[in-house]
Symmetry: C3
């Protein structure tokens, strides 16, 4: 088989390319069908510890791959090698590493990548499995849930070399792709119920761990803050466009839903080699997993993209918008009689 032949190359025989990572919800430029032989895809992630505003007046310390929560989406094809440099600037206080669910061995790379402030490390893995996969920091012990609950997670998409297929061998292609990273935060409160602030990341640790033990997040947000994907930051599409949404959650189960739309093709656990589910209203993604859904927009308007636990969406923050331009189709939906006084 062609794919097996491609698997036989080793890294030293292959072309090297540098992938420009971009902040989510954007996705690096990529081919949907691989051209030629596998490649060595070089990427760099730099960890930034900083305070962010989760919502108006509520601050939280994050550890952020390339400064964003989630970290940037990495994209490659099966049999590519990913060569990753992880940098931990000396301005940081904590040691970090990276565990990529797409990789094989050494705790997903975690054992080979632990860097103290001021250090960098480079490692390489072969993308043997196709799909969408979470990556996250996992420096050991209690640092693991804490760093992840500080937003230190992202995703990698490993596409089949010949592109996505439906369950009957037909190609599926998308016009654009967005990456939505959902993250649970656990901001401590004082005895009056007011969210607390901390002047250092280490100072925030113990209180945050206490909240984490309750398994009840104070915030569940898309792309790092309440409203990060609304207003001028809304995602966009056009009627007739086919959009892929990659969605990751490193901890809690989630259930993406496009209000007014559907998942035409859904790989809820991200596994592109299996037949996608079709025509879903909502899809369940287990914690520690990245999934993908594809939808062709048929109507214009402002769509909400939510975690359909509506309390988590509206009261905790897990909601974004998609602004879709185009012509309204009365055949699909029409208001026949405006709101009027009841007979």
């Amino acid at each position: 088989k062609k794919s097996d032949r491609m698997a036989r190359y080793t890294a030293d025989q292959l072309e090297r390319v540098t992938q420009e990572l971009v902040p989510p919800p954007f996705v690096p430029k990529h081919e949907q069908v691989a051209k030629g032989k596998p490649k060595v895809v070089q990427v760099t992630l730099t960890v930034e510890e900083k305070q962010v505003e989760l919502e108006n007046g509520v601050k939280a310390w994050v550890s952020a791959f390339n400064g964003s929560v989630p970290g940037p989406l990495i994209v490659c094809h099966q049999h590519d090698y990913v060569e990753l440099t992880l940098k931990n600037p000396k301005t940081n206080a904590l040691a970090h590493n990276i565990d990529l669910h797409a990789s094989t061995g050494a705790l997903g790379g975690g054992e080979l990548t632990l860097v103290s402030p001021g250090e960098e490390v480079t490692f390489r893995f072969k993308a043997t499995k196709v799909g969408t996969f979470v990556y996250h920091c996992a420096p050991g012990g209690i640092m693991i849930p804490w760093h992840v609950a500080m937003g230190m997670a992202g995703a990698i998409m490993v596409l089949p070399r010949d592109g996505l297929k439906d369950g009957h061998g037909n190609p599926i292609r998308y016009d654009k792709a967005y990456y939505v990273g959902e993250q649970d935060f656990y901001v401590p409160t004082d005895k009056n119920g007011k969210y607390k602030e901390y002047s250092t990341v280490t100072g925030s640790m113990n209180d945050t761990l206490e909240v984490m033990k309750t398994l009840t997040p104070s915030h569940i947000v898309f792309n790092g803050a309440v409203g990060a994907l609304t207003g001028k930051n809304a995602m966009t599409a056009k009627v007739g466009e086919t959009v892929m949404f990659i969605h990751s959650q490193p901890n809690r189960d989630t259930r993406p839903h496009i209000i007014g739309g559907h998942g035409d093709y859904v790989w809820a656990t991200g596994q592109f080699n299996d037949a996608p589910q079709t025509d879903l209203e909502t899809w369940g993604i287990p914690g520690g997993c990245a999934g993908a859904a594809i939808y062709t927009f048929l109507q214009p308007g402002l769509y909400a993209y939510v975690n359909h636990n509506l309390i988590e969406a509206i009261m905790k923050g897990a909601a974004g918008h998609i602004k879709v331009d185009g012509e309204w189709d009365d055949d699909l939906m029409v208001q026949l009689k405006k709101p009027t006084k009841m007979a």
Copy 2:
């Protein structure tokens, strides 16, 4: 393809029928295989704000489509048009609307259907996707999770025109169908832990929202109250009968299970165009989703139908009964030795 030809009709070319909606767990009379051309299916939903008894002595305000939690199941076939009139009597205090996950655009109809007390509205959508889908009120902002947490949700089943199929193209038919709507409630307590009562729906809002923020329901019930599907309200079946169970949860993940039975065929996210899973003990339905399971009963007796988080089933209320008549089959199960003193 036949189904494509059917998709080409528009609403004005089609016969109009009125669907008599019935209170859950019952399901409107319907054909499993569509006869003739698509239809325009007219339904009316009237919102009722009222206080109900969730369990002995515990009251909660609900907003209920047609007075029941969940609202009634709507049934149609793919390519049918659903023409829905939503009435909000002037005796109500709140504005309401409807977002149907089966529809396309305008926030699932939510944008076109907002009615103040004393108003009604009529809109129409085409059922382009097959499956079981949640509908719910979604009047915007904090009203969304609050109205849904007041039970303002139901489901619609869009059947394939040629009926259900297993994964090999063979028809699947059911002898009867039940609709179980699971709903999380968040009843506030006073400082002694006693459930509070409120004289108005708006008066109950702020306290209820505070409980919702904990993500921990006080009650999780089937069909509006603890015990709504037990005793004289138990579902019924006969040995040899094939029963479909449609199950919706607008918020939280759930995991239906028939104690002593199975899911012979299960569409956990409700998607009838995909091959069903077979022979499941328990199926996971993500929040914001309606799923369906089919079981042919092989033994008589009283079955429990539960959400198999057994704390949610027994301590929060998510349990019902199915009373099955018929002959016991010793080959499937037999008590060989009654409880006796241990040797």
Copy 3:
């Protein structure tokens, strides 16, 4: 069909064998492909009520099938009969029974097996459905969630007579199998937040039920205690070995993940007659369900096997280890540049 012919035998025509049950994570000796006719598989489960140490200094009362949490895995093939004797020694304080999700009727056997302290009972069921299935105690009412939350659950694996298959009819075989039973515990605390101890199982009931109502476990553990599958109790494998992991959770949803590995083939709800999902990072198992995953290890090292809600894994206890011997493969992963001072 051959399988139909096998289904026609009745228990009295068949050979009887006694299955030696073993403590988890170990799995009874078994054939992957059934030889000859179905069998009557005799097993005995004895209930032990006892106090265990969940983690250093934290004690909890458990009700344990054969003294272990989870109870032992039972293994048989489709069309076998399972003849089960349940013993409740008079040293116990509570009545117990068993509900097996693999069986049909009488609340999964629960109605036929209730035994008071000092009693035993024997019943038999036919394993008509293939898959991995939870069993648990379900003595009625509030006893159901309480006994289950005391660890009184296990699993049974019913293999297809001709063994496991991928989605294309090809056989899947494993070199070894482990059974991981995940269990949520709800240990009460005193007003200083210190975990309480109780001198009797009945004395622990009311406080434990109060914690259970919060739906927030104090502990979520694999095989009965924090660290039960680490250190000298770690699971083991060799590079090149194919290992099956059966995973059950009687209550809460879970999401198994092998850090540094994958699920090559996954039946998340345990249903062996359906095509497995392939190449998963993480798989979602609904509460009240047992699932199975198969992985061929490609790298040596210490793998963690976790519930990938990382708070549940690290702060609540849901983590184990797999020690894998063999040769490291630099092609799959290599550290190219050790941690060094950043440029």
